[in-house]
Structure formats: C-alpha cells, structure tokens
C-alpha cells in the first residue's frame, strides 16, 4: 500500500471567497476506503496504491467532516445555496481501455448529508470504474452551479455547469505489473535535472530507492521522446536490440545506485529494505541467494551482479543472434551456459 500526491493544472476561477472554500474541501472532504489491507482516508489529490486483490469488493464512500461549514463557506459564492449541486463522479484511470466517466450521485448542497456511499465493503461494485481492479479508479467530488444566473457584475459563477470547487481522489493497483516504465525525456525534465539538451536518457534514483513500495517512487527512467515513440514500431532483431539497449542502460544504473545506497551510512534497516519493490525485483531474479547474501553481493560486487543479471539465456542468446543476423546471419549457438 502507498499514498502519494497528484499534480493538477491550475484553474482560473476568481470568485470572492473561493480560496477558503477550496481549503475546506481539500482538508475536510475525505474518500474513505475499506479493503482487506485496512481502512484508508484520502484527502484531495492523494493517490492510494493497493494490491490488485485488495481492489476487489472495495468499500468506498465520500465523507464530509463538517457539512454545515461547507455550506457556510459556499453560500457567499452564489445568490442562493440552492444554486449549488454536489456531484460525485467515478472515472477510469488512463490505463483502462474503457475510460468511462460515470455520474454516481447528484445532490443539492442543501440536502447533503455527511457521507455518500459508492460501494459497501464486501459487495460487488455496481459502478463500473469502482469495479476496475486492473487499473483502479478516480473519484471526484464537485460543487457545481446548477442554473444560469442573469445579470450582476459581482465576481461569482454565473453559468450553469460552472465548477465552484473540486476534490479528486485516486486509487490504483500496485503489483508486480507496476514495473519500471520509461517516460519521455522532455525539455522540462532536462531542465529539472540540469542535463544537456542533447541527452537521450536519464535515470533518477530517488532517496526512497531501498524502501519504496512502488517502482514509480523508487526510480524514474526517462528516454528521448522520439526514441520512445519510434521504438514501439521496431520489430524483430532491430526491436530486440533497441529494447536491450534501454534495458541495459537502466539496469546498470539501478544496480550501481542500489550498491551505493547500501554503502551509505544512513542506509535503511534490512527489515525495511526487504519489503521494498526494488529488493523484491532482485530477490526474484536471484532466487537462490539468501537475503543477507544478496544484500552483501549487491553492496560489494555490483559489476558481478550486473554480469549475472545479463547472463539470463532468454536475454543473452537472442542478443547474440540478433547481432549475428545484422551481420549477415549464419549462427550456430549453443546455450552460453553449456
């Protein structure tokens, strides 16, 4: 399980008194989630990572900790409090093939109670995005103007459908499928990490490398935008070689970063490290090694770890064949482990 923060664009809604209302919504509107992994309370922009199996029969409700104050803060923004409706919307995350948006509830703010249940724990979800264990879901709570307001020059929302305030919550699956995925190396990323304009890859290993429960929190791997786009269309040997190039770059960086982090005086405790997604990756790749042995090996002999990682026949034989093919073919290879 993990909780992280979303980053959103900035909206322009210059309504007087809006900031206080937004602060209230961001802090007092909660997405309460009940799963086998325990109960969780998400605030606006938080992302909850759960194992896929914990997404089944998940309990989800939007809770308002102080409805009276919410109404008090919203009132100055409109002519009448009956002008505002509360929308609860469930959406698929972009990783879903369906990408659905479903309005789950529409309630006049005047009639809002302290919670709205989207799904009871243990029950089969009827709202499709909540039912999506493959890619998770997003829940939005929005305060929206429900009628057109004529005339007046005050800075207030006037158009039906105008968004007054919104809270967003995200629940996503985290599993072995949460693998390292290359992201585009854009100019913004180059500027952020102060790397040359002509650079084509960059691996950012975070301070949570040895403790993070998701790969995304442990490391980010950036690859030149056009390489990333073009590589998908390569096939056969060219495709395999291009993928190998990226994989080797990243794995090499990862092994040396892990080695350095383990040598650090302030390295986390072994009990914490073994729970991390990165350690699990190495434990899976080298199942014959005991935990302590594997940690020492990574720390002391990163070059040997790298060579062993690359020795996997599924990787090395196609690599040798692909290069032979580019050179005109004619190979007669036995397994390099023979």
């Amino acid at each position: 399980m993990s909780i992280s923060l979303r980053q959103e664009g900035i909206a322009l809604r210059p309504y007087a008194g809006l900031r206080k209302l937004e602060e209230h919504v961001e802090n007092e509107c909660i997405l309460a989630v009940v799963t086998n992994a325990g109960p969780f309370a998400l605030k606006h922009a938080q992302v909850l990572g759960l194992a896929k199996e914990d997404l089944d029969a998940i309990g989800v409700k939007v809770a308002f900790q102080n409805v009276d104050k919410l109404r008090d803060l919203a009132a100055p923004l409109v002519m009448d409090l009956t002008d505002i409706d509360v929308f609860i919307v469930a959406k698929d995350r972009p990783a879903s093939p369906l990408r659905q948006t479903v309005v789950v509830a529409r309630i006049p703010l005047q009639e809002l109670e302290h919670e709205i249940i989207l799904n009871n724990p243990g029950e089969h979800a009827t709202v499709p995005p909540i039912h999506n264990r493959d890619s998770g879901f997003i829940v939005e709570m929005a305060l929206v103007l429900n009628k057109n307001i004529q005339g007046g020059f005050s800075v207030r929302p006037r158009e039906k459908g105008a968004l007054i305030a919104k809270a967003i919550f995200e629940v996503k699956p985290v599993s072995e499928g949460d693998s390292f995925q290359p992201e585009p190396l854009t100019d913004e990323v180059r500027e952020r990490f102060r790397i040359p304009q002509s650079s084509w890859m960059y691996a950012d290993f975070t301070s949570a490398l040895l403790t993070a429960e998701t790969f995304g929190e442990a490391a980010r791997f950036y690859v030149h935008e056009s390489i990333l786009a073009d590589i998908q269309y390569l096939q056969g040997d060219e495709g395999f070689l291009a993928e190998s190039l990226l994989q080797t770059q990243f794995v090499t960086g990862l092994i040396y970063a892990v080695s350095a982090a383990l040598r650090d005086e302030e390295a986390p405790d072994e009990s914490e490290i073994v729970e991390s997604q990165v350690f699990m990756l190495f434990a899976k790749r080298f199942p014959a090694k005991a935990t302590a042995e594997l940690l020492t090996w990574l720390k002391e002999e990163p070059a040997a770890v790298l060579a062993s990682w690359q020795s996997k026949p599924e990787l090395s034989i196609p690599l040798i064949k692909a290069i032979k093919n580019l050179n005109g073919g004619n190979y007669d290879l036995s397994s390099p482990e023979d």
Partner: protein, 276 residues
C-alpha cells in the same frame, strides 16, 4: 452451483510471441490470417481463460467473421478507404462490446487477445503490421493508441443508443463540400479519442456536432487546422466548467458560445480558406 465465468486473455509476453509469429507467417503468406486459418492453430495455445466475467463467445466470433467478410467485399468499391474502415470498426466494436462483461472489457489482456486473434485481420488491414505498439508491448501504456482500443473509444464516445451517425459525420460533411478525407482520422483521434474531456461522452458528441454547425470547421492543411485548436480550447474550458454535470444540449450551447467568441482566432478567414 453456478457455472464459472471465464473470458479469453493473452498475456503481454505471449502476445509478443504471437505477434512475432504472425509477422513471419504473413510475410510468407500475405493472404493468411483469418480467424479460423489452420496455419495459426498452434498459436491458440497461448490463449488463457481468465475467471471473473463472461462473454457471448459464439455470437461475438460470428460477428467478427461477418465484419471481416463484409469489409473484404466492400474493399473492392472505390469509395471504401482507410477512413471508412476505421469508422466501420468503431461502430462494430461498440456493438460487440454489448456481448462482453465489463470486467473483461476492463482487462487489457482481453484486448490483446482480440487484437491478435479475432481481429488480427483488421489490425493488419489498418496498420499493415503487428508491431507491439498495436497491443501494448514495449511498455506502451497509452491504451488509447492501441489499435482496437482507439476504435472502441472513437465509437463508444460518439454512439448514443442506436445512433452511430457522429462516427462518420465529419467525413460525410467534408465530402458534401468536395473536400478530401485526409484529415478525418486526425480529427477523431485528436479530439474524440485522445482528449481528456472527451471522457464525458456528451462532451465528445457535442464537440463533433458544434464543429459541423455553421460556420463549419474543416482542417485543410498543416497550417490551417482549426479543429485541434477548438479541442484545446474546450480542454482549457473544462478546468472551469464541470462537463459531467452538463447535458449534451447544454454542452452544445456552451461550445457554440465558446466557438463564436474565438472563431477569428481558431479559423481566421484571411488564411487560405477555400470558399465553403
């Protein structure tokens, strides 16, 4: 005790293997590849039945065969082209989705199966290859770029009840003005398939409707493309208007106003616009 519900899936590693085999085979025998082609029977072993949902297998596969048969026949006619193929599939896959449980439709591995088994012929006709980008290999998690998912979003975001007219409305409007079809796919993919706001289906439909109202917006060249600008403008508006709260006619009226206020900027009359 009830029967266990299952649906077919193809894991990514197996999908890559199947795609490689299909590529080799099709290079040698360009006309093979239909659903029941015996030369691909070995590949069927890669299909796994996953527990958790149901689909009407026989009907679904029969419809897929009919789709391919009809397309093969219609390809002989001069007015059948790549754009029409995309539109046909967009409608067809939305109808097919009615035969499949939501849980299966949410599973990317089910779409991998569809791409490389029942719809391998469509994939080849549309994309001319089986590269991994078509079904999410090489870490491609942008599902709206997968061949079949793209078609599904094109269709599902524009269909309403049994009305599928908006799926092809932009092409038909262009033809009525004697304009080429070269920007039609771009219009749908850039606006309906890829825009975040188009997840609200009423907004996707309203955008297409307003684009085709007078004064109609037609993309004509790389330097005269008002529709992606209109799509971007709607995207900025969606930060301040809550589209899921609005009915389709309200969205239409809102987009109408937005377009009227920005028409000169989006589609300047001074720029090489033909007499429409």
């Amino acid at each position: 005790m009830g029967e266990i519900m299952t649906y077919p899936v193809l894991k990514i590693s197996d999908a890559k293997e199947v795609a490689r085999a299909l590529s080799v085979q099709l290079e040698r025998f360009p006309n093979s590849g239909m659903i029941d082609d015996p030369s691909f029977q070995d590949l069927d072993k890669k299909i796994i039945e996953r527990v958790g949902d149901d689909w009407q297998k026989e009907r679904f596969l029969a419809n897929a065969r009919n789709f391919h048969r009809n397309v093969s026949e219609d390809r002989r006619y001069p007015d059948f082209n790549d754009t029409v193929l995309n539109e046909r599939f967009a409608k067809h896959i939305v109808e097919q989705a009615q035969l499949v449980g939501v849980r299966a439709l949410q599973d990317p591995d089910f779409w991998r199966y569809l791409t490389l088994f029942p719809y391998r012929n469509y994939t080849r006709m549309r994309d001319k290859d089986y590269s991994e980008a078509r079904f999410g290999g090489s870490g491609n998690r942008q599902l709206n770029r997968w061949t079949l998912v793209l078609g599904f979003l094109w269709g599902s975001r524009l269909a309403k009840d049994n009305d599928f007219s908006l799926i092809s409305a932009y092409r038909i409007a262009r033809l009525s003005q004697k304009l080429s079809e070269s920007w039609v796919k771009d219009f749908y993919i850039n606006n309906v398939v890829r825009r975040k706001w188009a997840g609200t289906r009423a907004a996707a439909r309203a955008m297409v409707t307003v684009t085709l109202k007078e004064p109609r917006l037609f993309d004509l060249s790389n330097s005269y493309r008002p529709t992606p600008k209109f799509g971007a403008l709607i995207g900025r508006a969606s930060e301040n208007m809550y589209f899921p709260s609005m009915e389709e006619d309200e969205l239409e009226a809102y987009f109408d106003g937005l377009l009227a206020r920005n028409l000169d900027r989006l589609a300047p009359r001074s720029v090489s616009e033909p007499n429409l």
